[in-house]
Symmetry: C2
Subunit: 355 residues, 2 copies
Amino acid sequence: MTRRSLIGNVPVGGGAPVSVQSMTNTHTDDPAATLAQLRRLAAAGCDVARLAVPDTKALAALPDIIKESPIPLVADIHFDHRLALGAISAGIQAVRINPGNIDSEKKIEEVAKAAGEADVPIRVGANSGSLPANLAKKARASNEAMAIALVEAAEKQCALFERFGFKNLKVSLKSSRVPAMILANRIFSEKHDHPLHLGVTEAGTIKRGIIKSAIGIGALLADDIGDTIRVSLTADPVEEVTAGIAILESLGLRTPNPEIISCPTCGRTEIDLMELAERLEREIERMKERGEKVAAAKIAVMGCVVNGPGEAADADIGIAGSKNGKATLFKHGETIGVFPQEEAFQRLLSEIRGK
Amino acid sequence: MTRRSLIGNVPVGGGAPVSVQSMTNTHTDDPAATLAQLRRLAAAGCDVARLAVPDTKALAALPDIIKESPIPLVADIHFDHRLALGAISAGIQAVRINPGNIDSEKKIEEVAKAAGEADVPIRVGANSGSLPANLAKKARASNEAMAIALVEAAEKQCALFERFGFKNLKVSLKSSRVPAMILANRIFSEKHDHPLHLGVTEAGTIKRGIIKSAIGIGALLADDIGDTIRVSLTADPVEEVTAGIAILESLGLRTPNPEIISCPTCGRTEIDLMELAERLEREIERMKERGEKVAAAKIAVMGCVVNGPGEAADADIGIAGSKNGKATLFKHGETIGVFPQEEAFQRLLSEIRGK
């Protein structure tokens, strides 16, 4: 079990629910745009958002953003430790800093002191792309070498902060190589109890990025390693949040509401399953947007009655294709009727609405 | 190490490269439509395709399909063992059968005998949705119980075929619950050396399905468990193939050609990274379609020069955003020039073309 840290009101580690993070890609010195994006992220289910603080203009915008943000914020700081000090003064809930690109330990000590006094956690961490030169060379040899180098780099960063009496650390070990990222986090979690922030870097375009992140983050979470996650995508950060939530839901770490299951299509399929599942998902999204109650936790959309109701027996409600354009509705594996397909779908929606 | 089996000319298990499977969703009794889909699947990189053989009409279409198919085929058989016998006579390269829905052991023996004589492998396997009643009830209790029930069901199926002297088996242990699927395969692979076919069932709509499959299949492959994979999606089966290949590529089990890496966008980004990465991907797809050579194995699209060239030092060629609408080109971490953005992109393409 890792130690527990708090990012504002969001607990991280120590058995707390795994939280989903993202990062704004607006210019932080534009508070209106940044807040608009933070509200979209929060609405999508994001627990914590990071934002870049690259200069004093961004820093000047922080108080307004922090005051209005619906979720706790992490300031992403590089090169200039005064930006970290300023963000802490402004009331930021957490700081991400890479001690490797701050040019003196004295400056790190100042940040550690300020964060300690304000009770603000700091994320440190190693990234395959920004390892110190001596480690970077060794790391290229293999995934194992990369994992060991990432662990060594992160341990050095932790040791530096701990030398200054600061222990409220979170740690990330990121790589664009998924096997190296998995192995690094496994090794680190065996040795230390710092809360772990999981992510795969430079994850590529959206489909490929989602797959890399799902494997790396998912493989670790499946073994109870990881306390907070970020799916990094070259895309709207809302996509990062919905992917992150889907990873947690897939592993039973967050309950989807509702869960829609469907079978892959095959030659037996008697219904346009794809279209129906997508349509159901859209209808449920709309119900949620309108604030309507969703009275089913698990909904099945199955291709045929042969396997459908049986395979989806644990669904609260389901629909399965029948012959001649009809569809069967079933509840907990028991058939409740056969109707023309559109009528069946409308009855399904009524059941989901609890009517 | 698992035993090696052959599906036509595709080796499965025994250290062979992990193969990617999909399943046609055309009606098998329509050979033209089925062959058209098989050709699209093969072009996308699919190694083996399964197709449903639900009745004698589908069976009658098999000889033509088998003769023309660009990749080996697996006949998916339920209920009627004569369809399996017919498919084997027609020259099918493999059979998927669930002994649980064939009503006598005598009929299984006939299939085992025919498959043995034709040297056709058989995939058996358990699925959380179609467990025998006695196991299904126990399995609901927890993911661990589900995993144990899946292993027990698969072992019974294997034992039945082995009793009839048939050993050329592949095994799948599938569940819509990802943690149960991971655990079942871990347990089974500790005990047996049958080649394993990995998949997550009822994986839902496309984004969610890709995430569930990437976690379940990816977590196992990361630990060297699994010999052939299928991503089940309620979508065009070509999507299953591209997702399956991306899983293998993410784990270094298949070399992407070329690999495009990009960093997540943040407030430091000086370039429209998303648009650029997507555009590059499209250009490379087009180059491949035209049969042009792609002279770079790893290409980076990075947001800024601050971290870009360093984080992507192992890229053969890369582009990073600079100030004032310019972009930096770099090779193996070394800057080769700063150009207006569009010129930089065109120079990047030329480098990729090896010109």
